[in-house]
């Protein structure tokens, strides 16, 4: 049984059964894109389940946040990356051993795999020894490594590898190739002859030129000639080769279970922090959020849509950040303003920030104070499906109803442009009804709508997406906290078309 976990304070914890499939809100919040980007390049560790399940207690989050803080130390991060690389090398060596057919080759690859494993463990132990580690997780790791690398099983393994390596490097031989005949015998190798040739031509070798070299393909397999030669060499060094076989049989189960689990789980952090490092810059900060399970006065400074940043950053397109906060009895953001102005993105940011915080991960933004939710529900517009005979309005209502039957006051609901398929009167009425339920439950909610009137309800905060004042075609993607003013956009367009009062007076000659 493994003795500690880098993901859970209690090593007996593991991801639950539900975590094996993607949560329903993932695609609405574009978290699926985020997770795909995070685990790209880390597929072998099967990390997705870890990203599907948010934690349920503040302490569980704190356990991971401590670890993330420790990982701010680049020496620790480098040590772990080199550990990860070592384990990967070990695995490729083992895979290689499995693929090959020649007996003595398989054994040698196995020996190399074990040697890499031992080195990797020892190096990580040494690297961690003098680091200042504050997290419970890494302290436990250090303790474990210390114990394990001094256990008699491990130390004797290391000694035997060294012994065997020395024996194998003493194997040298000479091939005499005459036509199609090869003769093999023991021999010391020497560079003397090459040096002599070089000396003879010394006068002609002064120019610095690109030296000729025939490139030979490097591949681990041996062809039958090499195999035959190796067999003849083995006949001349029987003790060495039988020692190699004995080592393999004795050490088949060398890999420690705790090490294996740590190797997988630590990549949860490495993968995520790798992504953060790629995105992070002066304008796109990340922070470790304050998470509370009692306070709903959430706040974020310079938060941004991580999925958008993943897509735009490589192209050098700047990503707009937004601030939000709720104070006192405020619970609901009602977002209005021009389309394509960043309304949906704002809603996603709110959801992403909360979910990522619930994983114990750093979140986009300069600072963040977030709420520990129990569940997230989203209601985004769907394509009308032909297989679905209900009307769109009916569908909307059914979906929202099912949300309200399962949510609790600790849930988060994100609603995007509901009731667009009906009249304004209906939409207003239904929207108000939905919001009233949310207000009554006192839960955190985002409501993206085109109806200014909905911003007037209690517990709501009005947020408006904006356009550049002098050119209404340029979206700023900034969503600001201010009363809804459906007019400014229309006025801006009028100015551009020169149909404002002043413009008309100017254009019409007197």
């Amino acid at each position: 049984m493994s003795r500690f976990s880098i993901l859970y304070a209690n090593p007996d914890m593991a991801v639950s059964r539900e975590a094996l499939k993607e949560p329903a809100f993932f695609s609405d919040l574009h978290l699926d894109q985020v997770v795909d980007a995070v685990i790209a390049g880390y597929e072998e560790y099967d990390l997705k389940p870890f990203f599907y399940e948010s934690l349920k207690s503040c302490d569980a989050i704190a356990y991971r946040q401590e670890i993330v803080r420790d990982l701010g130390n680049t020496r620790l991060l480098e040590a772990l990356k080199s550990f990860s690389l070592g384990m990967q090398t070990m695995r490729t060596h083992l895979a290689q051993a499995k693929k090959l057919h020649n007996f003595s080759q398989k054994r040698r690859w196995f020996l190399d795999a074990v040697a890499v494993y031992c080195e990797t463990i020892e190096r990580l132990g040494n690297d961690l020894a003098d680091l200042d580690l504050a997290s419970r997780g890494f302290q436990a790791l250090r303790e474990f490594l210390n114990e394990y690398s001094h256990s008699p099983g491990f130390t004797s393994l290391v000694a035997e590898i060294a012994q065997l390596d020395a024996e194998l490097s003493g194997v040298t031989y000479c091939l005499h190739i005459q036509g199609n005949k090869i003769t093999v015998r023991k021999s010391k190798s020497s560079q003397d002859y090459i040096r002599e040739v070089e000396h003879t031509f010394k006068g002609f070798l002064q120019d610095p030129v690109q030296p000729f070299q025939e490139r030979f393909p490097e591949y681990p397999e041996m062809n039958h000639v090499e195999a035959k030669v190796l067999d003849l060499v083995a006949l001349q060094y029987p003790e060495v080769f039988s020692h190699l076989s004995a080592f393999h049989e004795k050490n088949l189960n060398y890999l420690d279970e705790t090490v294996a689990r740590f190797d997988r789980e630590v990549h949860f952090y490495l993968a995520y922090l790798d992504l953060v490092a790629r995105i992070k810059n002066e304008n796109l900060p990340f922070c470790i959020p304050e998470v509370s399970d009692t306070e709903k006065e959430v706040e974020s400074r310079e938060g941004f849509d991580l999925a958008l940043a993943i897509r735009l950053s490589p192209q050098g397109i700047p990503v707009v950040t937004n601030d939000f906060y709720l104070e006192g009895r405020e619970r609901i953001f009602v977002i209005t303003g021009p389309n394509q102005g960043g309304k949906t993105t704002f809603a996603r940011v709110f959801g992403q920030l909360h979910f990522l915080a619930g994983l114990g991960c750093p979140v986009p933004g300069r600072t963040a104070r977030l709420y520990l939710f129990d569940r997230i529900f989203t209601h985004f517009e769907r394509e009308e499906s032909l297989g679905n005979l209900r009307s769109k309005l009916e569908d909307d209502l059914l979906r929202i109803h099912s949300i309200f039957t399962t949510c609790t006051p600790r849930s988060i609901i994100i609603i995007n442009e509901m009731f667009t398929s009906t009249t304004v009167q209906d939409a207003l009425y239904l929207g108000r009804k939905v919001l009233e339920q949310a207000i009554q439950l006192d839960l955190l909610c985002i409501y993206v709508t085109f109806l200014d009137e909905l911003t007037m309800l209690e517990k709501t905060v009005s947020m408006v997406s904006t356009v550049a004042p002098d050119n209404p075609d340029v979206r700023t993607y900034r969503v600001v906290r201010r009363p809804a003013d459906g007019l400014s956009y229309a006025i801006a367009i009028a100015r551009k078309k020169r149909v404002t009062y002043e413009a008309i007076l100017e254009r019409i000659p007197s």
Partner: protein
């Protein structure tokens, strides 16, 4: 081994597609003339075009493309160093005296290079083993040719006086002793591996053999069982053979051999390459001198004077010459033409004004040509010539009116000017011919004035032909000590002599004469 006939201590590096890069994909002559021309930097294409250097190169080449390319490279890569110029002048004097011997050496180079290309063709394998084989054959050929070269040195060395040739012949005798030739041939024999390859190896990654190293094959291992029983080292020696039809087996065997042959192939290839470069350099260097000899003969045939110029250190401004003429024009017209005398001691700026079609451009070209020829070490077309050595000669000539882009004319001129400025440094030389006249006189003058003043401030030597009166008059009235004003001569009766004499800029450019002649005589 380096010939060092163009520079005392270093190789000449042809810049524009002469020497094929390693490895040799094509020979220079496989390239088209246009392609070769496009390799020249644009500023040098302008110089070539403006001074009509093509005529010069053709005369030096006498129909040989190789000589043409060499002449172009050496002339355009002029050296700003009087020592090297004098070094080359001495060698050229030797070549004039011993043209026959020089042609013989040139022939040996040619044969070596052709022989080399027969061995290393585009279909020569790139494997270590095939490189070893071809290198051994090429080296055997080269060694033969080097021995031949040494013999020429022994037979004729005495008649050469220049430092360059004396050092070259001494080097051949010093580096190619008889013993050395014997040991070279011996090791080449050994490396053709008559008794097979002896290779040592170790166990590498995954027990695959590695560090394959070639050893000298001394003892051929005992063949018969009796010999095996009797052999001193009874420790096991095992053999196996590869079946005749086992092609993968043979490929595997070749790979092992190849790995061990890599180092010797590298050495052999490098040595071959070195000697190939030696012959190539020698051929290029001699080709240049042969070109100079051709040019001298051509001009003398026309009855024109030719002299060895006196170079001055950079910065010691002078432009002193007697009977300076435009060789290209003479070669093109195939007749002797009128030369000019000039004496501009200590002048940074020479400004030439005067009658249209009065020989200004021809004079300007003759100055540029003589400067270039002096700086490559050749004789120059004049009775006597002396000038300070410049760091680069550049030309800014007015281009023929291009109807399609008349509006962009000044734009184009200034673009070219800016391009030239990229290449300038103190003691460079710029020849201007009717530049910046694409706009009105006032603007053109102002542009010219600003450019000229800036260049003078940067100590650039300028020869400027202009009819921008405001510009030339303005400079004249400044009474600058470092400027010389020349004028195309016109006799009182209006007749042109095509002589350039000292004289202040005058208001009229004698266009009236031209007008009269064309309109009255027709």
């Amino acid at each position: 081994m380096k010939p060092h006939l163009l520079f005392r201590n270093r190789d000449f590096c042809p810049a524009w597609g002469m020497l094929p890069k390693y490895p040799q994909p094509t020979r220079w002559r496989d390239r088209e003339y246009e392609e070769q021309w496009a390799l020249l930097p644009h500023v040098l294409r302008m110089v070539t075009q403006d001074l009509e250097l093509d005529i010069l190169f053709k005369s030096m080449a006498q129909g040989d493309r190789y000589l043409y390319e060499v002449a172009k490279n050496v002339v355009l890569l002029s050296v700003p160093d009087t020592g090297t110029i004098l070094y080359r002048q001495d060698i050229l004097r030797d070549c004039i005296r011993n043209t026959k011997v020089v042609r013989e050496i040139y022939g040996i180079c040619d044969e070596s290079i052709e022989g080399y290309f027969k061995e290393f063709t585009w279909y020569t394998g790139k494997s270590a083993d095939s490189v070893r084989g071809t290198s051994i054959r090429a080296l055997t050929l080269f060694i033969g040719k080097l021995v031949l070269l040494r013999k020429v040195a022994e037979d004729h060395g005495g008649t050469f006086e220049s430092e360059g040739f004396r050092e070259f012949f001494a080097m051949l005798k010093r580096e190619l002793t008889d013993e050395y030739i014997v040991s070279l041939n011996a090791i080449l024999g050994e490396l053709s591996l008559p008794a097979g390859a002896c290779i040592t190896a170790e166990l590498g990654k995954g027990n695959k053999g590695t560090n394959y190293t070639l050893q000298r094959c001394r003892e051929i291992p005992p063949q018969t069982w009796i010999a095996r029983v009797l052999s001193i080292d009874p420790s096991a020696q095992y053999s196996f053979t590869i079946a005749d039809r086992d092609t993968t087996g043979f490929r595997a065997l070749a790979e092992m051999r190849g790995k061990s042959l890599n180092p010797v192939s590298r050495i052999l290839h490098q040595a071959t390459d070195h000697i190939f470069r030696f012959f190539t350099s020698l051929k290029i260097e001699l080709a240049f001198y042969l070109g100079c000899v051709h040019l001298r003969e051509e001009l003398m045939r026309l009855g024109e004077p030719v002299c060895f110029p006196v170079p001055r250190e950079p910065g010691n401004r002078t432009l002193t010459s007697k009977g300076l003429y435009d060789a290209c024009m003479a070669l093109q017209k195939n007749q002797a033409i009128i030369g000019n005398d000039v004496n501009a001691e200590g002048k940074d700026l020479v400004l030439i004004t005067g009658a249209n079609r009065g020989g200004k451009s021809t004079f300007l070209r003759s100055v540029g040509l003589a400067q270039l020829l002096m700086q490559c070490g050749s004789c120059v077309p004049a009775e006597s010539f002396s000038a300070d050595v410049c760091r680069g000669v550049f030309t800014h000539f007015r281009r023929e009116e291009d109807h399609e882009m008349r509006s962009g004319k000044l734009d184009e001129e200034l673009t070219r000017m800016s391009e030239i400025i990229d290449h300038l440094s103190p003691d460079s030389m710029v020849l201007f011919n009717e530049s910046f006249a694409a706009t009105n006189e006032r603007e053109g003058s102002e542009i010219s004035r600003q450019i000229v003043c800036a260049l003078l401030k940067k100590r650039v030597k300028i020869i400027f032909v202009t009819h921008l009166h405001e510009f030339s008059r303005g400079l004249f009235e400044r009474n600058m000590g470092n400027a010389s004003f020349l004028r195309a001569e016109r006799k009182p009766d209006g007749e042109r002599t095509f002589k350039i004499k000292e004289g202040e800029p005058l208001q009229t450019s004698f266009g009236k004469d031209l007008y009269h002649r064309i309109f009255c005589e027709s």
